[in-house]
Symmetry: C2
Subunit: 407 residues, 2 copies
């Protein structure tokens, strides 16, 4: 049975059938031309739902409310998302505001409050302005065309809109996965909130929806961030509404592999967009680690290199300073044997089995000027590999964060 | 028995009796007015010696050579230190260069090569220029006045000289501890090499010298850095030559407490100097965590806050954004209970038991303008406390690292 995978680059969360979205400016964010700060993602029918949340012990009110809801019932039909206020560290008042938001949205959409999920991003410690939320929710109009508006409404320090869809045709079956996210890859990318919303019109069995999401997040969003090092609001949620009409996909299904492949494509595209949109970043850096003793080692080494400010500034300055790369691997916790490791910029080998090679510095520096920079480390200890993404570190990072509006 | 502790702010490694030092410009660093790049610390008699080294699996040649030497014999009489070249990732040639350096210094000083330790700081992956090392070592003149020159010679991106001495008088006993270090507190402070040299004319029993050094480093240098997250060259060494004439101090000695106290004073002063000398830093940040369940939790929380680029940029921008502080604690790995934690800037409480307080934003912002900024978190879960130090993060950080000369 032939499988065809089509990337729809202008696609998003409303590309799969049965999903609608809408957004509005409600006055939570500072006003600017075209600003949007409140949006709703809506499905015409109930969706199997799975989500991963921040591991931070300080959790925003929407995270607490969503986790509680999904623990009881893995069905949903809508997600209400606001930017400009994280509703984190807001005490009982914050929880009440989150609950009230679900009631307002349920009334507006004529669904059960149990079918409404929430996500927030913005400043910590500020209460949600409920009059604005109420007026905004009442006025939002959802439509099949609303995906782009939703993508804009969830942005904070993001400079680029991030969305995509992938269509799978396999035999008589056809289904689509769409996605959008917000997040700007920083020094520790995940210290800024990362929100991801994935939709599919495929019919997916509940446990498989959950396990495939976790696997996809592990090789995508978690490789621009560090496990356990997340913001108060981080979440990635997937809604599967089954309107494509395929038989329910579980892990033994003939469609399971192509669903996972398409989900990885969407997630990886979005994760790379976050890294590339680092605050002040001018280049995307892809770090490939191979020859690691095991997968955990490969992941730790790749992520430590991608987070190293010394590596980031060297790339920004086009300095082929491979010492910073191997030193980051050496302190990552991964097993590294000094006289076995190789380091490459692109395909140019700079360090071979721990010994520096003579290399063309001008050519190596030129490789670091590309908009996408590839750094490779071969630990030569085993066969595990991992890929992580980061960005260079420029002065604009400081300017952005220092001047970031508290509202 | 009365104890008097005197801080000698202009003191350094040659303030304790019997220690001499000297430095020279040998052409390893780029030439600049007054540049020094090679120095020797020398004791008139053999010293009990203890050291802590980097935990990075990629170790510089001087670290490998020193560790091997101290494993066999904990006596030394001299340390040869160069800046401008780390002699790290330099393969067999680098080890040979390190061994040759000890031979050259031993010949010059008429001592055994086994009594010579080494330290290097600078660019990774460049070979030590041995003709320069040879000429330099032959020409260095050590003297009682040489401590200041040694402090200058070990600097790389440091903007301030860091040295101090502390004199202890207890009954009939008098001894002195001197110290100097190099290192500039960065985003991850310890990713730049940190070298520390401590000297004392007290007579110290070998195991106590080692255990007291480890304890002092744990509450000082390790609180501006993160365990396991060190450069290829980091080391702190202490030499005790016994010329003060006191009875040998061991852990049961009547002088043990005052020795440890003085050692902590010297180490903490030097560690804070590193944090304050952050690349581009304008302010020293002291983070005090109390009420932690255990010491490890307190240390993790304090260090994570001190390393948070979001906290660093908020302080730089004088933004009392307490959400970034508590979010850093929440992802540190320490146990944090959302509705128990308090956050303070100076003595001003901004978050009480997880609920934001109304506070005077102008006054809070003014507190962040001080050259020394105090941030406090009370986890209200136990009685463990820890203090860490960091610095704010400014644009100059990027400029410095981007433009850093490879030689």
């Amino acid at each position: 049975m032939s499988t065809k995978i089509q990337v729809i680059s202008e696609g998003g969360v409303t590309t799969p059938k049965g999903f609608l979205a809408g957004a509005i400016y409600s006055g939570i964010k500072k006003k600017s031309p075209g600003a949007l700060d409140l949006c709703i993602l809506y499905s015409e029918v109930a969706c199997e739902t799975a989500a991963v949340f921040t591991t931070n012990q300080i959790k925003a009110a929407p995270v607490i409310v969503d986790q509680d809801k999904l623990n009881k019932n893995r069905k949903s039909r809508a997600v209400v998302i606001n930017s400009g206020c994280a509703n984190a560290c807001t005490g009982v008042q914050g929880i009440n505001a989150a609950v009230e938001t679900t009631l307002l949205a349920a009334k507006k959409l004529d669904i059960s409050p149990n079918e409404v999920l929430l996500a927030s991003t913005g400043v910590i410690g500020t209460q949600l302005p409920m009059p604005n939320m109420k007026r905004g929710i009442e006025r939002i109009v959802v439509s099949r065309e609303g995906g782009k508006e939703l993508t804009r409404a969830i942005m904070t320090t993001d400079t680029r809109q991030k969305s995509i869809a992938v269509r799978v045709k396999q035999g008589q079956n056809e289904f689509t996965i769409g996605g959008t996210c917000k997040g700007a890859g920083m020094i520790h990318p995940n210290m800024a909130t990362m929100l991801g919303f994935l939709t599919t019109d495929a019919s997916i069995e509940s446990d498989f929806l959950d396990s495939s999401l976790r696997k996809a997040v592990d090789v995508s969003f978690n490789m621009v961030s560090v496990d356990g090092d997340t913001s108060t609001n981080d979440m990635v949620v997937v809604l599967a509404n089954g309107t494509a009409g395929n038989a329910k996909i579980d892990r033994n299904s003939i469609l399971a592999d192509s669903y996972c492949h398409a989900l990885d494509l969407v997630s990886t595209y979005l994760a790379k967009s976050i890294a590339a949109d680092g605050e002040g970043a001018t280049r995307l850096i892809e770090i490939r680690v191979c020859g690691a003793r095991n997968l955990n080692d490969a992941r730790m080494a790749a992520r430590t290199i991608s987070n190293s400010p010394l590596v980031k500034t060297a790339v920004h300055g086009c300095d082929p300073n491979w010492g910073r790369i191997i030193a980051a691997a050496g302190r990552s916790g991964a097993e590294v044997v000094q006289d076995k490791a190789d380091v490459y910029i692109g395909d140019m080998c700079l360090l071979k089995e721990g010994t520096p090679l003579l290399f063309d510095k001008k050519a190596a520096s030129d490789l670091l000027k590309n908009p996408e920079v590839l750094l490779k480390v071969d630990l030569n200890l085993g066969s595990a590999t991992a890929i992580a993404w980061g960005c260079d570190l420029s002065k604009e990072y400081i300017t952005t964060l220092k001047a970031q509006q508290r509202k």
